[in-house]
């Protein structure tokens, strides 16, 4: 660690991992509810568990992005952070707001939460992934603006690099597109249309800039490859990502009451969305192969390579599977979507955050890398979580294909709940894969506490 103020990343990373645990535990609850329908009912109904599962994911990824930014921007800018105190204050505000929101989900019925948070003043809740009370959304905007102010000031006063510019562009885009979450018209078609301006333009748009910047930063550090080369790759990858991803938004506009021209536009452009992810895989492997130093942090290298591969599989291949309108006509709103969502989020965003944590945490703890013993445990975590996620995805895909067949393609289509019982075996297997994922997560967390002979200070 070259700058004192980089250390503010640490609480962000620790809180992110705490929320990751919560996310996985609630995922296991939901997975069990899929087969034991009344598990924890009526105390934690499925919709409540799902809110915690998805919202915890979003918040911990945001925490991870912020931590990554606070860590890498001083180093890129060759300058201390504009205000470490502001960064720390915003951390606590964000964490407390997130915790209160989760307590709200769990403690009272959602309609009561809507009432006590004054949703009627500006109704924004009750939409998928945007379930946070309006007041929490305002809090997110305030935290984001304070964060962006702090980072922008730091970047402006120091060295400007491609990585910091791309990261900053991604983060400003993230904040900007979130503003669409405040637009909630009565018209269901318009509501859904602009809802995607948050959801799609985040994960298949500006978040990819953040992903590329973080990955590029870690690759520079661990491979020692010339910055010039890495920058060029980053620009090519994000060009491909936005050229395909922006119009690719159209793949959500096939069946929600929007015009049918989207079927062609959305289909063609989103079918190309795997290309930037494939480029990212090539990027990671190429840079590691051309490395000019042997960095002692093997685990961080593994996470970086894993991000490329799993993002390509989850976001690229599994996205392509059901993105064309004639296919999506049958798969829309089935477990096929859930399968894609799981591997895409894990492969792209979870793994890139774990990559930067893997690289930065040892540095912040005063060493270039953890001991070999610790890295071995961390790599166990990597493999258990990654293989478990592959199986979760495969089982959900199996469930999804059967669901499509029984409920939509068959000459005598069966009702939803009848089909759900018929595919229960796949849900059981998914749940067991989820248990393995939890084991991997615990191994990963344990690696932070494994001692052993440490590598020298970086």
């Amino acid at each position: 660690m070259q700058y004192q103020s980089q250390a503010v990343a640490k609480p962000y990373f620790i809180a992110a991992l705490g929320l990751f645990v919560a996310q996985v535990l609630f995922g296991l609850i939901m997975g069990l509810q899929y087969v034991v329908g009344d598990f924890l009912f009526p105390h934690i109904p499925f919709n409540v568990a799902r809110m915690v599962h998805t919202n915890a994911l979003i918040v911990w990824l945001l925490m991870g992005f912020m931590g990554a930014t606070y860590y890498l921007v001083p180093e890129e800018s060759e300058s201390e952070l504009h205000s470490p105190k502001l960064a720390l204050a915003l951390f606590w505000i964000f964490l407390v707001a997130a915790a209160l929101t989760v307590v709200g989900y769990l403690a009272v019925p959602y309609a009561t939460l809507a009432q006590i948070t004054g949703n009627d003043l500006l109704p924004t809740i009750g939409r998928e992934f945007l379930e946070q009370p309006t007041i929490t959304k305002v809090g997110i905007v305030v935290v984001a603006l304070g964060f962006l102010y702090n980072i922008t000031r730091t970047v402006l006063k120091g060295r400007k690099t491609a990585i910091s510019s791309v990261l900053l562009l991604g983060l400003w885009g993230l904040a900007l597109f979130f503003l669409f979450s405040f637009y909630n018209p009565h018209n269901l078609v318009k509501d859904k249309f602009y809802w995607w301006f948050v959801v799609h333009l985040w994960v298949e748009g500006v978040w990819e800039l953040i992903l590329a910047a973080i990955l590029g930063f870690v690759l520079i550090k661990i491979t020692g490859v010339d910055r010039e080369v890495i920058d060029k790759w980053i620009y090519v990858i994000i060009t491909l990502a936005l050229v395909t991803g922006i119009i690719g938004t159209g793949h959500h506009f096939y069946w929600i009451g929007t015009p049918e021209f989207w079927q062609l536009w959305g289909g063609v452009f989103s079918a190309l969305e795997p290309v930037p992810f494939f480029a990212m895989t090539l990027f990671a492997f190429n840079m590691v192969n051309r490395r000019r130093r042997e960095h002692p942090n093997k685990a961080a290298t593994l996470w970086a390579l894993g991000t490329g591969v799993m993002a390509f599989l989850g976001a690229g291949v599994w996205g392509f599977l059901h993105t064309l309108a004639p296919v999506n006509y049958y798969t829309h709103g089935t477990q096929v979507t859930a399968a894609h969502g799981h591997m895409a989020f894990y492969g792209a965003y979870v793994m890139v955050v774990l990559t930067i944590i893997s690289y930065a945490m040892p540095q912040m703890r005063g060493r270039a890398a953890n001991s070999n013993a610790s890295q071995v445990v961390e790599m166990w975590g990597f493999w258990l979580m990654t293989v478990a996620m592959v199986f979760i995805t495969l089982f959900l895909t199996g469930a999804g294909i059967l669901q499509v067949w029984l409920q939509r393609v068959s000459a005598t289509p069966s009702p939803f709940m009848v089909v759900q019982e018929q595919v229960a075996l796949f849900y059981w297997m998914r749940e067991w894969a989820g248990v393995v994922f939890l084991a991997g997560l615990l191994a990963y967390l344990a690696s932070f506490f494994v001692k052993g002979r440490e590598n020298a200070v970086a």
Binding site: F41, N47, I125, L188, K192, F253, I256, F261
Partner: protein
């Protein structure tokens, strides 16, 4: 990557390409907005304020946390974009939807996926039923493939 393609040209292609596709997307979105009134049944919304109230009930009870609506949402419980039709259509369908919501046992059904008892009043039940009927009338390009959703 080839040395003749410099980092600064890559950067220029990125900014130029992004600007172009943002503008193209804006043009498509504008075109989409201009065609949507033919499909989104906004005349129903204007004629019946109960639909907007029903949408609020839909949101305040986080129905999307289990169900899908026009294929979006959670996949734990049935699609509701066409539920009024699945339950018989028109007034009969709406009455059946209301009866279903009303009759959920508060403690759930043993071993089965259970819908919470939301304790909605008659007015709210009418509003949610009108909202779901409105959703069923939106032109979704013939999705879902059949009545099972």
């Amino acid at each position: 990557m080839s040395a003749s393609f410099s980092t600064s040209s890559a950067r220029n292609v990125f900014y130029g390409g992004t600007a172009f596709f943002v503008l193209l997307f804006a043009a498509l979105a504008f075109q989409s907005e201009s065609e949507t009134p033919k499909r989104d049944r906004r005349e129903m919304l204007a004629a019946n304020p109960q639909i907007a109230a029903g949408k609020r009930i839909w949101e305040d009870n986080n129905c999307i946390g289990c169900h899908s609506l026009l294929g979006e949402g959670a996949y734990f419980a049935p699609e509701l974009g066409n539920v009024v039709d699945r339950f018989g259509g028109g007034e009969e369908g709406k009455a059946a939807v209301k009866a279903f919501i009303q009759s959920r046992p508060p403690e759930g059904i043993s071993g089965r996926r259970s819908m919470p008892q939301f304790n909605l009043g008659e007015k709210q039940l009418n509003e949610i039923a009108d909202f779901l009927e409105y959703a069923s009338k939106i032109d979704t390009a013939k999705w879902p493939p059949n009545i099972q959703g």
